[in-house]
């Protein structure tokens, strides 16, 4: 149970950071936290039915459910792509406006368009 509560706290921290932080880098941190919390939830779920890593060899029984782990490899890759693109856009916005503050960026962008 304690693991689930910790994961929930991690998710809420991420969500709070995306919503309330003005610094766009911190928003991206928040997104990463949110994404990784869900990844951990899946892996935790898979481990309910076993103990060992899902490598089928002789003498190994009680493997964990391999499906969530396989899914989460994909989800991690997608999360990394999203973070990379978000950071690239943040860098571009910083070059255009000279700030990471979302309000200042919005003002600077509106002046130009």
């Amino acid at each position: 149970m304690i693991e689930r509560i910790l994961i929930l706290l991690l998710m809420l921290t991420g969500l709070w950071s995306i919503i309330s932080k003005r610094n766009i880098i911190k928003k991206i941190f928040g997104f990463t936290l949110l994404n990784n919390a869900v990844v951990m939830l899946f892996v935790l779920e898979g481990s309910r039915i076993g103990k060992s890593a899902p490598i089928l060899e002789e003498g190994i029984s009680q493997v964990v459910d391999p499906v969530p782990q396989a899914l989460m490899l994909t989800a991690i890759v997608i999360g990394v792509c999203m973070t990379a693109l978000a950071l690239a856009l943040a860098f571009y916005l910083y070059k255009a406006s000279g700030s990471f503050d979302i309000r200042k960026i919005r003002e600077a962008v509106h002046d130009e368009s």
């Binding site: 997104f31 600077a108 368009s113």
Partner: protein, 570 residues
């Protein structure tokens, strides 16, 4: 090798192969070789799928469904694609608009190999989205379509576009995390990811999954609603669609907001609660149609006006779609509703694509996007070398189609919608939205009216490239063809969507009553336009336009939407 099971991977594989060719052109080729490789890639990715669609039509038209597992893995382990009537229709939508928009991008930019490559990956992801049969693969396809669209929006190079792309990325990627949470819930309950597996697993549970299943489904629906831009989670759309390059705007408005919707229908039909949710989303769609058009009417930026119309028109699609999911698509009434919904989605993709391209050409030539400032655009376009006013004519075809004036395709699909929704609550909201649509397009078409004084706008130098005209004429031709062949197309859509062979409802498209309704709508639209042109009306529009909009609102409305969905379904 040529049996249909192997062929169905082509609409996903061909654009990916094309994207690989375009990346090769970027990485290793120079000069004309690079161009040949890139165009060859686009030909593979955008033209060959048409041959595939023609080849499988005989199988699909007789109610056939083709299934295949990638790499011939065991069923249940490998990724399964299913190609049925809905997939065929949605692919026609995808490829007609993306082909036209890519041709347009050759003339108007962004003109480089990396753009073509990302664009082709987007096409591939969209094709996979509609064919996929498991929830996790749906997540992957939606994320692929998402990440390519963020790149394409930002590719216009304007800081505003980068900010719009960033906001869209954050809200959309965060909501997709909640989609993943919904996948987790369903997997935990049923131990399955495929649609059939989930449906069977939920049936075998004593209470059909109970609250956990409902919450999981609500999270998934809310996340996809962000992509579809149903109010209240549509706030990201206007900036993103208005500031993207014109060709990308056409694809985003035409295709990207509709494909997830039709893919979601497959998930929602898995459990009774999903059909309940259909009713709620139908109501949300009808309100979206009306509020979207009010916001559109108040805009002064030409492309932003079109972007708000995308929200409004997706509201039309969603209202009939929600009603169809509510009654179940296998019933005759549900099949007719779904057919009308799809028909409007398809025709909207064509005329909105056309409008974005023609308005894009116009604002590029004139260098002015403000609807209140720009006048005499037809003359400026003529000075740019346009002997026959192609852009102007194409704009009016699109504007008449979206205002539902016969004989253009918008009239047909809106008549079909009125027919299947007649008497319901949605019908009145959609009729009111139709008046607003007519009014705002009277407002927008004023940019082509001749100018009284000789206040010269500085027109851009150089000639407009031929590819711009070809793509506009292609979409314009489709708009007219869709209007003329109304009954035939509607019957075909109904037949493809209902495998059981539901009777095709008789819709008298060109009856005098329907024509009169179109006329009255335009007359009411003209009155509404004249009202908004008064001083008080203008002040009201300015208030609506400059209302405060925040980034947080999107997240709050996302949480509210998910909560309301849960309460509705329980």
């Amino acid at each position: 090798m040529m049996n249909p099971e192997n062929l169905i991977f082509l609409p996903v594989a061909l654009p990916l192969a094309g994207a690989a060719a375009a990346f090769c052109a970027k990485a290793w080729c120079t000069g004309s070789l690079a161009k040949i490789t890139e165009y060859g890639g686009a030909l593979i990715g955008l033209a060959l799928p048409w041959a595939f669609l023609a080849a499988v039509l005989p199988v699909i038209a007789t109610g056939g469904v083709v299934e295949g597992v990638i790499g011939r893995w065991y069923e249940g382990i490998g990724i399964t694609f299913r190609f049925d009537g809905l997939s065929w229709l949605v692919m026609v939508l995808i490829y007609s608009v993306t082909t036209a928009a890519w041709i347009y991008s050759l003339g108007a930019g962004p003109r480089n190999a990396s753009f073509s490559a990302v664009y082709l990956i987007l096409v591939s992801a969209l094709s996979a989205t509609i064919m996929t049969t498991d929830v996790f693969n749906l997540f992957v396809c939606l994320e692929m379509a998402g990440i390519t669209s963020y790149v394409l929006i930002a590719s216009s190079g304007k800081p505003g576009a980068a900010l719009a792309s960033f906001s869209y990325l954050l809200i959309s990627a965060s909501s997709m995390v909640f989609f993943l949470l919904g996948v987790y819930g369903l997997y935990r309950l049923t131990g399955a990811l495929s649609y059939e597996g989930i449906a069977q697993g939920l049936q075998s549970l004593p209470d059909g999954g109970g609250t956990a299943a409902v919450v999981s489904l609500a999270l998934m629906i809310a996340a996809v609603s962000v992509r579809v831009a149903v109010m209240p989670v549509s706030g990201w759309l206007p900036d993103a669609h208005a500031l993207a390059p014109h060709a990308v705007s056409a694809v985003l408005s035409g295709v990207l907001i509709k494909v997830p919707l039709f893919a979601l229908a497959r998930v929602m039909l898995l459990m009774p609660a999903g059909m309940q949710a259909g009713a709620l989303i139908g109501y949300a769609g009808a309100f979206t149609a009306l509020f979207g058009v009010i916001l559109a009417l108040s805009q002064k930026d030409a492309k932003r006006l079109l972007a708000y119309h995308s929200i409004s028109q997706i509201g039309y699609v969603v209202s009939a779609w929600g009603a169809a999911v509510h009654v179940g698509v296998t019933t005759p009434a549900g099949a007719a509703l779904m057919a009308a919904s799809f028909l409007h989605g398809l025709y909207h993709a064509m005329f909105k694509g056309l409008l974005f391209l023609s308005i894009g050409t116009t604002v590029d030539r004139t260098g002015q996007r403000d609807v209140y400032q720009l006048r005499g655009a037809a003359r400026i376009l003529r000075s740019g070398g346009e002997r026959i006013p192609v852009t102007c004519i194409c704009f009016f075809i699109g504007a008449l189609a979206i205002s539902a004036i016969p004989p253009f395709n918008g009239y047909v699909s809106k008549t079909a919608l009125s027919h299947v929704l007649s008497g319901s609550f949605h019908y009145y909201l959609l009729t009111a939205a139709g008046v607003g649509t007519a009014a705002s397009f009277i407002k927008l078409s004023r940019i082509y009216w001749p100018q009284k004084q000789g206040g010269e706008h500085s027109a851009a130098r150089g000639r407009t490239p031929a590819s711009v005209y070809i793509s506009q004429l292609f979409l314009g031709g489709l708009c007219i063809a869709g209007g003329i062949s109304a009954s035939a197309v509607f019957a075909m859509v109904v037949n493809l969507l209902s495998a059981s062979g539901a009777p095709v409802p008789e819709v008298a498209f060109y009856s005098s009553a329907n024509m009169l309704k179109a006329l009255l709508t335009v007359a009411a639209g003209l009155i509404l336009f004249l009202l908004t042109a008064t001083k008080k009306g203008g002040a009201l529009l300015t208030t609506i336009r400059t209302r405060p909009r925040g980034f947080q609102d999107l997240f709050i409305s996302f949480s509210l939407a998910a909560a309301v969905l849960v309460i509705w379904m329980l």
